[in-house]
């Protein structure tokens, strides 16, 4: 089979219901390249790669390999053409062995003694690329790094020339990442090429030879690594004109409302994901947490709101320790929470609007006494929410699943704010909303602060953070890289911190 010498993607455009995920994107990769694909979440990197892998059909544009057009109907076609993809979350059967996983869907093995054939293949490729795995082990016995090697073996044995890796180091320890880079180097020496999706500048500059930066579905720059500085890359990734902040009352920040110190939290996989984190949120301020998602923000918020146990450290509200209390206790003490996945956590899709309007405070008067729900009061409350927060719902009896994302978010925000919390924790509250709904929600956040409460706003959207926040901390790999004043700071610095560089006065800074 002919090997991939040069692959081009030309004018790729792909939209999902109204949103242009990719717009006239061009990409070129040659044999021996490691191309870094850099961008924030939602920049369109994964969409582009799914087009290349045959999962999505582009609305416009085409793919050319060695000068000949390539039509992909499904991943089967792309595999045949020598393109392999390794997803961020591995596609392996946990209870099967390495050998069985590699053999799965592989139809070149002979009918008799296929195991012997597969074993030989695995040994051969393992040696060639330094991919050490025991073919007899079960997947669940392996570390994340080893599982990744199985995935790489799987694609290599299927003759992949071009390997797409989606955030490959996000699940790895630093040593495992080093080992991965060694493997990648061996691969390009053998004439393979790699596309590495990442948001970590350090990683891109150390392993890639070329880089392409995307933002909001468009390419904002391509360059050879040796020709660009990290500051350039950060600017390409973030670089936007920031509009001024929204109108806010002068509120003099007071004593600390929320104090977080030395907080460490583990991820679902049991790996440390938040490490010795510390910051304070003051009375009457909006404290922003910037950073690419997946850097421990979710786990941090869950630890503060009682949904996840912290490993070490303490959280206190108005000087009282609330570390590892239950979610209900913490809510009762005056912390409201707008969760990041509004449909998965914040609402119950099949229950009607009015029942959702009291979720989390259904146990309090006037919505219920010890035993009975007070549905007349609940309906009144729901009607108030609809009126006050302009929720567009046919009636308060419709199931929440019939509402649009913006209206669900208004419901959640209204529900959480209406209990007049001391501290409102909002995670990505405007993610995926249209401009009008987003602005409405930002104004509500400011109202909450102007009333004298505090807000902890976790967001990926720098523009939003600059519009509403009084102080912004940047989070990377579970730590605070620095805290800045949005009225007086340079955006490149934030970009670098988001990508894991240049630590400014870590931790406390008041």
């Amino acid at each position: 089979m002919e090997r991939i010498e040069i692959l081009e993607m030309k004018d790729i455009t792909k939209s999902f219901i109204g949103v242009k995920a990719n717009q006239d994107v061009n990409l070129v990769i040659e044999k021996g390249d490691i191309l870094g694909l850099l961008g924030e979440n939602g920049a369109g990197k994964t969409t582009l790669m799914n087009v290349l892998y045959g999962l999505y059909h582009p609305d416009k544009g085409h793919i050319i390999v060695n000068g000949k057009p390539l039509y992909l109907r499904s991943p089967k076609d792309s595999m045949k053409a020598g393109i392999g993809m390794i997803h961020q979350h591995f596609m392996l059967v946990q209870k099967h062995t390495v050998l069985e996983n590699i053999a799965l869907g592989f139809d070149e093995a002979p009918f008799f003694f296929p195991q012997r054939y597969m074993r030989k293949q695995i040994e051969e490729y393992s040696q060639k690329f330094g991919l050490n795995v025991d073919p007899n082990k079960k997947i669940w016995e392996l570390s994340a790094g080893e599982q990744q090697r199985v995935e790489i073996l799987k694609t290599l044995i299927r003759n992949a020339d071009l390997l797409i890796m989606d955030e490959p180091t996000s699940v790895l320890t630093p040593q495992e990442a080093e080992e991965l880079f060694d493997i990648l180097r061996k691969m390009i020496n053998n004439g393979h090429s790699v596309i590495l999706i990442s948001h970590k500048l350090e990683e891109i500059t150390s392993i890639c030879n070329r880089v392409m930066v995307m933002r909001k579905g468009k390419v904002t720059g391509t360059a050879l690594i040796k020709d660009v500085s990290k500051v350039d890359l950060a600017r390409m990734m973030i670089g936007r004109e920031l509009s001024g902040s929204l109108e806010k009352k002068e509120v003099k920040p007071g004593k600390p409302m929320l104090e977080v110190s030395n907080l460490s939290v583990n991820s679902d996989q049991g790996l440390p994901i938040v490490q010795n984190l510390g910051f304070n949120v003051l009375w009457g301020e909006i404290f922003g947490i910037a950073g690419v998602s997946g850097n421990g923000q979710r786990e941090m918020v869950e630890a503060i709101t009682g949904l996840r146990k912290s490993v070490t450290g303490s959280v206190s509200l108005e000087g009282k320790d609330i570390t590892n209390l239950t979610a209900r206790d913490i809510h009762n003490r005056g912390i409201s929470h707008v969760p990041e996945e509004r449909i998965k956590f914040g609402t119950v899709a099949n229950l009607p609007f009015f029942e959702n309007s009291v979720l989390k405070k259904h146990h309090k008067t006037p919505f219920s006494n010890r035993m009975l729900m007070n549905y007349p009061n609940i309906r009144d409350h729901a009607k108030n929410l609809v009126a006050k927060y302009n929720v567009d719902a046919a009636s308060i009896s419709v199931p929440v699943k019939n509402l649009s994302g913006g209206n669900i978010q208004k419901l959640i925000l209204g529900r959480e704010i209406s209990s007049e919390p001391n501290l409102l924790i909002a995670a990505h509250p405007t993610y995926g909303l249209d401009v009008g709904a987003a602005e409405f929600i930002r104004k509500e956040l400011i109202n909450c602060r102007d009333r004298g409460g505090s807000v902890l706003l976790v967001s990926e959207d720098l523009e939003e953070l600059f519009q509403v926040c009084d102080r912004i901390a940047v989070m990377f790999e579970g730590r605070i890289m620095g805290i800045v004043d949005p009225n007086n700071c340079n955006i490149d610095g934030i970009g670098l911190m988001m990508a894991g560089l240049e630590q400014q006065n870590q931790g406390e800074n008041i």
């Binding site: 239950t326 206790d329 956590f345 914040g346 989390k360 219920s368 199931p399 699943k401």
Partner: protein, 358 residues
């Protein structure tokens, strides 16, 4: 040309009802085909089933008798299924309730008047069934054991235990070696209405339990929390709902009402504990369909329970009059359940016929 399936946004009550009726009709049609294969005129057979159960005074009395345990268990199952806890073990919860009831009736019955001993037996049966129902809930939450497996297996354990009791330590002295316990004393027996096996007390009890459970599910804080847990466990966690406690209470109640059914069968019909197949004619399993046909609304199980009781009685009748095998009723029930579940698909989805565009 092809069919496309799109999620349905909203199902009106009328649509719900129409789909329910169509599912039942489709189920009956499938049953009809089975009859046809047996060489029996399906219209005649189905007519016979309903004539025997609802068309005659005698048959209707039998239908009422059998509806009682189905309504009791079915409403408890509807409660559990609202929380997406797939309790398949109502059969054993019924049996354990009957065991507790028997012990209380035999030991305390002779010395206490009826208006004390009967409530005591039912209370004991409720606690027995409830405790048996707690086991799978604890297994699920503390050890992550799938409740379908554990409730199903507990059925066998309870059934074997009943067998052990009736051939072993509890074997009745007055029963000439038959595997029965002694009969309950007269004051521990429920009176029947006239010349029938219908106990008015039990009918009132079943209807009250079903209505109470409906109230519990739709009007109380506990019911709200159950529905949130069932619909979205993540949101329940977010809302600070105590998973463990709520599930335990839910299964205690669900198992408890099955236990009530056990005591009801015991004190109204059998009057002694005997082999498990005799105590319960598979009510714990039929009640799964009852709960489903009642759209998991405990109140609606009053009607669906009556309907399935009718099918059981009618099935018995055609077994005798038309020589159909005893398993006919099982085929009937199974087919109806399958079509009911398939009907759910159409509540959540629309199917459109579409010309393919190239």
């Amino acid at each position: 040309m092809s069919f496309v399936i799109i999620p349905r946004e909203k199902a009106t009550p009328l649509l719900n009802f129409m789909i329910l009726i169509s599912s039942l009709c489709a189920g009956l049609l499938a049953v009809g085909i089975v009859f046809l294969l047996k060489g029996v005129n399906p219209f005649f057979a189905i007519h016979e089933i309903f004539r025997a159960s609802f068309g005659s005074f005698f048959g209707f009395k039998e239908t009422l008798t059998k509806a009682v345990p189905l309504i009791l268990i079915g409403s408890g199952l509807a409660l559990a299924y609202k929380a997406k806890f797939w309790n398949i073990g109502a059969e054993s919860q019924l049996l354990v309730g009957a065991i507790f009831g028997t012990w209380i009736g035999l030991n305390w019955g002779p010395s206490l008047p009826g208006f004390i001993i009967l409530p005591l037996m039912f209370a004991g049966g409720f606690i027995g069934g409830g405790l048996w129902g707690l086991l799978p809930a604890i297994f699920k939450i503390k050890f992550g054991i799938n409740e379908v497996i554990s409730t199903l297996m507990l059925n066998y354990i309870a059934a074997e235990f009943v067998k052990f009791l009736v051939v072993g330590p509890w074997k009745g002295k007055t029963k000439y070696g038959y595997p029965y316990t002694d009969d309950l004393p007269a004051q521990a027996v429920l009176q029947h209405m006239g010349n029938s096996r219908v106990s008015l007390v039990l009918i009132i009890l079943a209807v009250c339990v079903a209505l109470f459970l409906a109230f519990l599910v739709f009007r109380t804080r506990f019911g709200y929390e159950i529905r949130v847990i069932g619909e979205n466990p993540e949101a329940a966690r977010y809302a600070g709902i105590n998973f463990f406690r709520t599930t335990l209470i839910m299964m205690f109640i669900g198992g408890g009402v099955a236990g009530l059914a056990g005591v009801g069968e015991l004190s109204s019909i059998h009057l002694h504990l005997s082999y498990p197949e005799t105590i319960s004619a598979g009510y714990g399993f039929t009640a799964i369909i009852v709960a489903w046909l009642g759209r998991l609304h405990p109140g609606f199980t009053i009607f669906s329970g009556l309907f399935f009781a009718g099918i059981i009685v009618g099935g018995d009748a055609i077994q005798m009059s038309m020589g159909m095998p005893a398993t006919t009723v099982n085929v009937f029930n199974g087919l109806i359940l399958i079509f009911l579940i398939m009907g759910d698909f159409f509540i959540n989805h629309k199917v459109r016929y579409q010309r393919r565009v190239s």
